[in-house]
Amino acid sequence: MIRLDRRAHVSLAARIGAPIAAVIVALALAGILIALAGAPVLEAYRRMLIGAFGSRLSITETLTRTAPLILTGLAAAVAFRARLWNIGAEGQFLVGALAAAALGSQHGLHLPAPLLIPALMLGGAVAGALLLLGPLMLRLRFGVDEVVTTLLLNFVALLFVSMMIEGVLKDPLAFGWPQSVPVVGDALLPKLLPRSRLHIGLLVAVGLALLVALVQARTVFGMESRAAGLNPAAARFAGIGLTRILVLVACLSGGLAGLAGAIEVMGVKGYVTTDLSPGFGYTGIVVAMLAALDPIGVVFAALFVATMFVGADSMSRALGVPSFIADVIVALSLLAMLVALSLANYRIRR
């Protein structure tokens, strides 16, 4: 009879190998779908790579896409580590974006640029954190599972944004299109490279990934939040205030997702529409899982996911394969990663 034994320690090679194996499996399975579309599979993947990295423009576009994914990926990673099931990053992203647009508009804060940009980032983060604190309170006070409440709030947040940009925050100069008033020039993030959309938001995201890694590895809070996730009963027994830890984790997680929204407004669009996020919040979950919840890993996982999306757009134009193939690849990588992680955690013994 075959038995599965849990390994005591997962080697670094397994931790790096698992996501790579998962991605290969996902690409192979998605290859079947590309073949069904009548396109040559390897050529399609070659075009995706060229589309994502083939020119200066495409590289900067891919990196621009990576920035929000790092932040929503971190949002999921820090929450999941403490077993806080925040599936609401999509909604937190949107309210963060809305807060930045409202505070950064002509009628918002009047601050010089060096103060305005951090203030708007903070505003977005606070909005995102508040949206997650609601479901957390419901869990702590009334025992309501946060998975469903955070999921449902995504739809409420989207409707709220829609209401605001068709109402008080509507841009009167947008020819009737539902979009918010633009942020002032001082609120726009400086570009990393001239003649591109790449902005300093990428540095903020990478910096925060390093900071989160440091906090998790080196601080009491990092250790406590990990303990809260691994074994809540033991953590409570060890004198760790679970409520306090979960509130802090929720502020961090919701804040990161809200910040992602704020940065997307200040760095790319300059205003809010209801289609500002092509699923950044949901995709963040995949990013976090591909990284096995490791903050540094999140940076690389986000880069992979951004590559798929930017690459698929250009491959789709060339070969006529629907660009939804990127979403399929990303979803398949998540499922394959779960299996790969469990195989790395167990060894088969006869």
Binding site: W85, A331, L334, L335, L338
Partner: protein, 314 residues
Amino acid sequence: MMEALDIFASAGLWAAVLRIATPLIFGTLGALICERSGVLNLGIEGIMTFGAMIGWMTVYHGGGLWAGIAVAALSGAMFGLLHAAMTVPLGLSQHVTGLGITLFASSLSYYIFRLSIPVSGSPPTIVPFQPIAIPGLSDIPFLGEALFSQTAPTYLAILLAVVAAIALARTPLGLAVRIVGENPHAAEAQGIDPIRLRIGAVVVGSALMAVGGAFLTLSAFNSFFPTMVQGRGWVCIALVVFASWKPARALLGALLFALFDAYQLRLSHVVGKAIPYQLFLMIPYLMSILALLVMARRARVPQALMQPFRRGER
């Protein structure tokens, strides 16, 4: 004010309640069957989307309406099998696997749809299920129009809730499902194979979810468009808690929820532009959260829900 109350006197409202409730009844029963066996299935949102797409596609390419329902059910069963394979024998996180299934099933739906239907200004349509007038009953004034002029899947959904209630409470199979969801080790001692039973329950439950999705494209509307499921799957997950994991209450919860949904739609027309329409559209989601809040402490959760079963391990 009177106008707001007049809405309740229109037969159209009550007919809409049954129509809106139908996909929720299928979805909630599906999720309930999975959870009674101990498996949370967050794949529901994606499985409903895929059912809506593949059901519609079957009819669009010349299949019958019931063939559309059957193909949807089969596709749901396949996704259920995938979810079960990962969460039951492998014991992977039910939360994350379910979300993965939702992402996979919905992106695959959009991909297949876009592949076979070229982009056009107006989405192609099919001829959906037509209302069946039940002889005698449909002629009753008001009640006939309100309750007895629905399409066939709506009657099927209500029948199914009754069947599920009886099957869970009164049959040996139902008892086995319940034991496995409460205490799989005790079930095993009784000679029941918890792994097989859970896989079976998730497959059947997921098939029902997909039928709920197919109702959207084959009866409620006549075309498929992305994001059309609009969180109905998540609402179903909330309704299972509201129903305290009981099929009869699930039926009641779905009807109650549909009543709010149908009412808010008509109320927003009466009120006009004075209140933003988005506030009315938020009501269903906020109601679901409220339902969770009311029932959270009172509901009888299956004791082994989300606990993987490993033979010889406690």
